[in-house]
């Protein structure tokens, strides 16, 4: 009989194993903690990749709150009901919409996918609305109008009006009802979608013409050059992008849980319902010449300025009211303290009234045809193009 040496037992049990187990353990982050997540389980290759190397300690602190904590958050429930979201959209998805890639780079837990989906839906609805409602807008104004409705600044404003607040710093312990974003993160580069980095950005000391056609082809949805390096106010920009990504992610969540029509209704009631003064976006170079070219193109009589009324010609503050006529039809009217300015202003007003032509307030857009029992499509008025 072999002698038992109980004195060695304690040592065996108390000693930590010097070498790690040879069987690969499943990733702590991917499987153990977040089994309640709304995202599908990652593929096996991903798991193997995410296994920590030998000697590396597992991170104790998660970058964002756990999905199951969403059910306990009062802020999140309040936000859900404030937005009148459908019951089909779980609180966990809304919690995920609040986690930006700058807080949690893992795309299985941040809102990057939902925000990309949402941004395409928002931009589609806004662009078709602008095209049908103001068919004669020049491309530059079209881009600015698109930015005014669905640009990062506007969407950030919308999310602030919804009552979304940002956490002081992202982390596991914060309330899931707060927006999680960090301004000093390197993960912001991954949030750019659409557009190409221009080749000439590398060559510093040369001037390149950035025309409208190349903006349409190369640049992003709002006609801005894709260049992450040179943002003027980086903090403000990242903040706006983070807040706007929540709005986009909510639209993406509505689309994936409730369908296309619910997403369209949401976009119409929250984004397209805002008022934009398009006439303040114009900047002209040579308005008198542009109006003359317009009249020549459309076959109208050449424009002629006529002095409709004046007061105080010899005083310090005269006022002239000038009307622009094409034949006997009046095109526009402007008033200014000098004859020349009044004429130019009248030309600008005439051009604005040309560009801002709208078929009406209730325009039909192509996506209306997807509804059940829609009337046959009647093509909207599409202008032949800008005045050159």
């Amino acid at each position: 009989m072999k002698g038992i040496r109980p004195s060695r037992w304690g040592g065996q049990l108390l000693h930590a194993r010097s070498c790690p187990a040879t069987i690969p353990r499943r990733n702590f982050l991917a499987s153990t903690v977040r089994c309640q997540s709304t995202v599908p389980a990652p593929a096996a290759e991903d798991l193997i990749e995410q296994i920590p190397e030998e000697g590396e300690t597992l991170p104790r602190k998660l970058p964002s709150p756990l999905p199951e904590r969403a059910l306990q958050s009062a802020k999140l429930a309040a936000l859900h009901s404030r937005l009148s979201l459908s019951k089909k959209i779980p609180l966990q998805t809304l919690a995920r919409a609040l986690v930006t890639p700058s807080a949690d780079p893992n795309s299985s837990f941040n809102n990057a996918n939902l925000a990309f989906l949402g941004s395409t839906i928002i931009n589609y609805h806004v662009a078709e609305y602008i095209t049908c409602k103001w068919p004669r807008l020049p491309m530059a104004i079209h881009y600015e109008a698109l930015r005014a409705f669905s640009g990062p600044e506007s969407l950030a404003q919308i999310s602030r009006r919804w009552g979304v607040e940002a956490a002081a710093a992202p982390g596991e312990e914060v309330d899931p009802g707060l927006l999680q974003w960090a301004s000093n993160s390197s993960a912001l580069v991954g949030t750019r979608w659409g557009g190409y980095v221009r080749a000439e950005t590398d060559r510093k000391h040369s001037f390149y013409r950035r025309g409208m056609s190349s903006r349409v082809v190369l640049d992003n949805d709002f006609g801005d050059a894709v260049d992450a390096g040179s943002v003027k106010d980086a903090h403000q920009h990242h903040q706006d992008t983070s807040f706007s990504s929540f709005v986009q992610a909510v639209v993406g969540a509505i689309y994936s849980h409730s369908g296309r029509e619910a997403a369209k209704d949401f976009v119409e009631s929250h984004i397209l319902s805002r008022q934009v003064d398009l006439s303040s976006l114009f900047e002209f170079q040579l308005p008198t010449r542009e109006l003359a070219m317009l009249c020549a193109r459309e076959g109208f009589e050449p424009p002629l300025a006529r002095l409709e009324s004046e007061t105080g010609r010899h005083s310090r503050t005269p006022v002239y009211v000038v009307g622009i006529y094409s034949g006997k039809e009046k095109l526009g009217e402007g008033n200014a303290p000098s004859l020349d300015f009044a004429r130019r202003k009248a030309c600008m007003n005439a051009l604005k009234s040309w560009y801002l032509y709208s078929p009406g307030n209730k325009v039909r857009v192509p996506s209306d045809m997807m509804e059940e029992g829609a009337k046959p499509w009647k093509a909207p008025h599409i202008d032949i193009g800008e005045v050159i």
């Binding site: 300025a305 006529r306 409709e308 604005k352």
Partner: protein
Amino acid sequence: MDVRTLSRPATQLLKTTRQTTLLPLTTSRGHKTTARTKRALKIAPHDSFLPNRSQPFPAADHIIYNPPASEASPEHTPFIFLPPNDPRREAIQRMRLSSPEALGSVAGASPPESDADLPPAMSYPRRRAHYNLTEDDMAEMRRLRNEDPLTWSTNALSKKFNCSPIIVSIAAPAPAEHKKWLEDKAERRRERWGPIKTQAREDRGRRAEMLYRGEI
């Protein structure tokens, strides 16, 4: 009546001269108290603000509509800017035919019958296409310009060939050294300006930019 209106300015002139010569300057009395000021400033409202009293009874319903004097909004498209398939075009045409006076001064109001009813045209340099120049004219223009750009300036050539100066500057541009000389001359003149004139010129340019952006 006519005689009185004609003679009135002359009599007033006589009166005022006599007053200024004989009487002290402050003859008219101001409204020294609040009550007197209020009474003096009490003006009856304009007719358009008052209810319609054309019928004694029952009082006719009407809407008081007194929009402030303002510029027309660019969202009101003028009649000729409406595309051919727009329903507003037909509606305005129908209204013009049926009741021309009903539209008043609305954007779609019917235009006056003749040019005499329109406001006076302003005089400013504007494009009047002649299309009177031939190939030989262009060659002659270029020859003159190259021979003596000082005598045959843009304006001189435009007068000689009866075309606009812009056509001359496109068809027969001055030689490079002449342009350089003109620019230097203008630069020397600009250098002689004092600070006030320089500032005034800058401000004028800035005002034009603001105008084009719609800020003033």
